[in-house]
Symmetry: C3
Subunit: 477 residues, 3 copies
Amino acid sequence: MEKTSTGAFPSTMNSSEKQETVCIFGTGDFGRSLALRMLQCDYSIVFGSRNPQKSSLLPNGAAVLSYLEAAQKSDIIILAVHREHYDFLKELTEVLKGKILVDISNNLKIDQYPESNAEYLAQLLPGAHVVKAFNTISAWALQSGALDANRQVFVCGNDSKAKQRVMDVVRTLGLTPLDQGSLLAAKEIENYPLQLFPMWKLPFYLSAILCVFFFFYCVIRDILYPYANGNKDSTFRLAISIPNRIFPIAALTLLALVYLPGVIAAILQLYRGTKYRRFPDWLDHWMLCRKQLGLVALGFAFLHVLYTLVIPIRYYVRWTLKNRTITQALAKTDDPFSTTTAWLNDSYIALGILGFFLFVLLGITSLPSVSNMVNWREFRFVQSKLGYLTLILCTAHTMVYGGKKFLSPSSLRWYLPSAYVIALIIPCSVLVIKFILILPCIDKTLTRIRQGWERTSKPTSNGQHLKQSSICLDSQL
Amino acid sequence: MEKTSTGAFPSTMNSSEKQETVCIFGTGDFGRSLALRMLQCDYSIVFGSRNPQKSSLLPNGAAVLSYLEAAQKSDIIILAVHREHYDFLKELTEVLKGKILVDISNNLKIDQYPESNAEYLAQLLPGAHVVKAFNTISAWALQSGALDANRQVFVCGNDSKAKQRVMDVVRTLGLTPLDQGSLLAAKEIENYPLQLFPMWKLPFYLSAILCVFFFFYCVIRDILYPYANGNKDSTFRLAISIPNRIFPIAALTLLALVYLPGVIAAILQLYRGTKYRRFPDWLDHWMLCRKQLGLVALGFAFLHVLYTLVIPIRYYVRWTLKNRTITQALAKTDDPFSTTTAWLNDSYIALGILGFFLFVLLGITSLPSVSNMVNWREFRFVQSKLGYLTLILCTAHTMVYGGKKFLSPSSLRWYLPSAYVIALIIPCSVLVIKFILILPCIDKTLTRIRQGWERTSKPTSNGQHLKQSSICLDSQL
Amino acid sequence: MEKTSTGAFPSTMNSSEKQETVCIFGTGDFGRSLALRMLQCDYSIVFGSRNPQKSSLLPNGAAVLSYLEAAQKSDIIILAVHREHYDFLKELTEVLKGKILVDISNNLKIDQYPESNAEYLAQLLPGAHVVKAFNTISAWALQSGALDANRQVFVCGNDSKAKQRVMDVVRTLGLTPLDQGSLLAAKEIENYPLQLFPMWKLPFYLSAILCVFFFFYCVIRDILYPYANGNKDSTFRLAISIPNRIFPIAALTLLALVYLPGVIAAILQLYRGTKYRRFPDWLDHWMLCRKQLGLVALGFAFLHVLYTLVIPIRYYVRWTLKNRTITQALAKTDDPFSTTTAWLNDSYIALGILGFFLFVLLGITSLPSVSNMVNWREFRFVQSKLGYLTLILCTAHTMVYGGKKFLSPSSLRWYLPSAYVIALIIPCSVLVIKFILILPCIDKTLTRIRQGWERTSKPTSNGQHLKQSSICLDSQL
């Protein structure tokens, strides 16, 4: 018991007597920065190095010894060397037995090795208590207390006492330790700093494709066409008019694509008559990045709003209005007020505003701190009920907007319909299918399936379930 | 000591050797999903069932035994059965002694039973260490790592070691355990997933009433009246004009209602001469949902802004402006520029913008993650100082807006004043009272009272304080 | 072992048997409120007082004894007295040995004493386990569960077991304990509640100066000048026109000032040929409040957007447009459509919108909860890549906006150029220098320096590194 109790106490005790010694293997930049920070927090540091003589640049107050000597000085050893060089540790097996070995290594690319560096280390030295930590923050971040992004230190390890001590060290350095459980989490922790918005890739490419396609589509209809017949130069439309056609279309389509996979999944479940069968990977991935899809859509909607609100400030618009007024004034013709137009115009604007408002609400509730405050029932209510309401409002907005255009002769150009007509296809189909799915008869079956009932019950294998995440999302949203 | 030390270690240790056995009582959907997830995380699962033969649909790799046999296999037993069936556990009292019993049950409605299921279970089996967990996440959520909303698992229990082990399990499943303290918290935890925005009900109903009332009020003034005298069809106003009267009124009134309870409470305290007397419940509840009131008000303000900014795009507005111009051009009359009008118009717009800006600031600081970053002093500064400034600006905005209308003859219709006049009543009275309250003489007494001084000091009973929360809020905001 | 095991268990156990006794020294308002809250949570409370007879106003159920007697009753003593009166504790050294002493004291101003109250207490009573807690929440907040701002209780102490017990108490009171590590953190924790937006001071003063300067500058150009020649009264411009000149200028300048220090730091590093030399303090401080600078800039940008969007609603604008139309209609002159103007006008609007959009994105990612979700690589990408793109877009926006004005004769008034010309100086210079810095040749050297290479390597002293935080920020953003 003596051993473990010391395992529990001294760490914190000494840290007050400002004398706990920590040993760092490796004198690279990160090792140095870490040592520096710890010295500032009143730890005493011993570097372990292959050739202690040659090491330069080390912060004052830090001793440099051979690996063996350094390891003996402390029972926390921080390993600031690359996985490739772990082998030298084998010789130290004896002295490292029962000590805390902190693996801070990162790899160059995701899933570079079959097992995580920390687990590899644990196999190498079964006697030592391996703890994964510090790999998520940069050498610089160590010294900075100002940025939120880098105060979190993910910690995982199999020996809870060892983990606790490392977390105490992290806290003393002014950082925030997050216990991620056992070493099983090490792989995820090591991949984390290498990711660059993984869930955003699909939404990004999707929206890129949408934008490019509709850009050329609009260029043809709104610039080439008028130039071809009438030789009018409308290139200036590239700045605002055309983006303001593309953005709403992208927003509406992406929003519909947020709800499409849920609908598809429901159909699949109905067809298979069970929830215990995994979905195709594409559907899974699609489902997992619906939140990001929605946020990108919100971005486009936001741009659409801004582009629309500046309309009356534009020189082009003012010029047009002025000239129309003047010509009419000179012609002394009268232009009676049409209540229908007023109705159409006002209501499509109102629908758009309400849709955007709900859309913003959805966006706010998807903020991590907000969604952590709501329970599952509330989250479902917001994301599915309000979500569909938003989709309905935005679709209606587009339709009523169209409502007016249909009448105008200019709707067809070179047999191409206006862009918004194409934009309506996906949302409408999603809404129609959803409407069918919530018909009592169908809904009942679906609910039973999702409560575990199976049309043909058979024992289900583990593998089949690994990707069930999709179903669960689907059943909620 | 042996016992507790094993209590501390094996959980995590084994989870690395991937062999810890967990026993699950009950083979319902949630039990199965949980088992599935745990199998994926390398736990080995034993189901306890009344008739092990008849249980089907269980994930591969999970054994099914009688309750007794299953319980013997592991020292963590997860109870996936309804509270109604807890009785069968009595027969297992012996085997469950000293084991960790995880209560994951939920009820059908809030406060369904006098005591929480977990506490009931603890009374049933005094020998077992009961821990409440997993009830806040859905069967689906268990498999999903994608949604923030459902990664949090509230854990509470009286035996800290048992609680730690369950939290380790939670972490290994990739979820985030939140220690909620002793079993006393179980009741709250069990009610949590049943709530649907409890604090939002009052604000919601209040705003609903406001909207309905002012809707009809505006319909009478702006649609029926013109129709009655002049037979003008202004129904199209229903889409934008009328909402854009209702929303600002609702926003201003709700914002005033955020600060009214604080003022009332202050008066009550002055009258009673003590802070150690509880307030009437309605006042308490009102105070506790002020944040939500404010956010709803912000929503209306946001809508008001959008509805206002689209004005120049509206067909109706453009048509009016055009016709006015034409008629004037034909009449060759001159319309001199009035600096006063420009002043009034510009300043009421400016006031509105600034008010809205501060309002948005208030909204942002009420985001959980932001308000966690600010200390009490900063929070008070923002919420009370900036809050009142916002109220002042918005009230002034409405007044100056009125400033112009007062002159116009159309202000009274069927003896009904414009809606905004009515909207001004509450905000103005709040501001006036507040102004009186911060007069030095009165403020001094109030401060002393809030520092604990009593005009007639008497020992205060516990019961009286149970609802003091109100006072504290009041004294801050 | 007996001692520590009791140290580990009873706290939580008893809290279920609702009998744990806590002792509170001091019968002030905070002590009373705390006692009240604990009584509600089924603790039994013993007050320690100099003269137990005279103490009044205490909540029912709380006993009042002499310090000595009270201390004997419990092994958790909460110290609700001011640091000045700590001396009386010396007499209690014996009875307090091995007990948990909770220091909840606050000071009147930041860094009032050389060492924190908690550390001072620890020196006074080496035998007791001192834990710092509860000082960050107000007496009122203790009773309120409604506000997020005050549920966090920072806890620090050298004895981990003692800390754990206090954190259990905190949880039982329904508050959220945050372990801040050893007593070293006490100083920071005691300063925390006294701060009032420390990092916001510099940005605030900077923007105040900017606004005042440009206010007078614009008043001279836009109000005094037209009044001097032509005797035109344009005072009404004070409400909207002039603020809408000041805000964009402030926004652009502040945004540029966010990136200026990084550029300066890079130059310094190149000049010194090492990263291991600390920066002057002003540069350090500047770097640490860049986030706040950026957010203030965003605020101004937001106001600028609103002020711009209301333009077409303004009486002044409508009147001008109308008159221009009328005069033209009467004069029957024609005003041909200029594609160039349309291009310029549309593109500067579009640039502004896109810049604002990115700016909002930056603001959202700087929300604590969001920036906690992104890893270091993503954070760098957003803050530096997107950040500079925003700066470029906004600068271009201003230039193109100028593009039109340059042509107009009114650009120079009393030899004063338009304000936006001055506003362009800083952003342009930042962009130019940055462009030079990312030239391959220079960038290579810089990168090497930041990876630890030194032109002239010498052992570096600890002191020099204490402020390295600046470099790290710089190297990232």
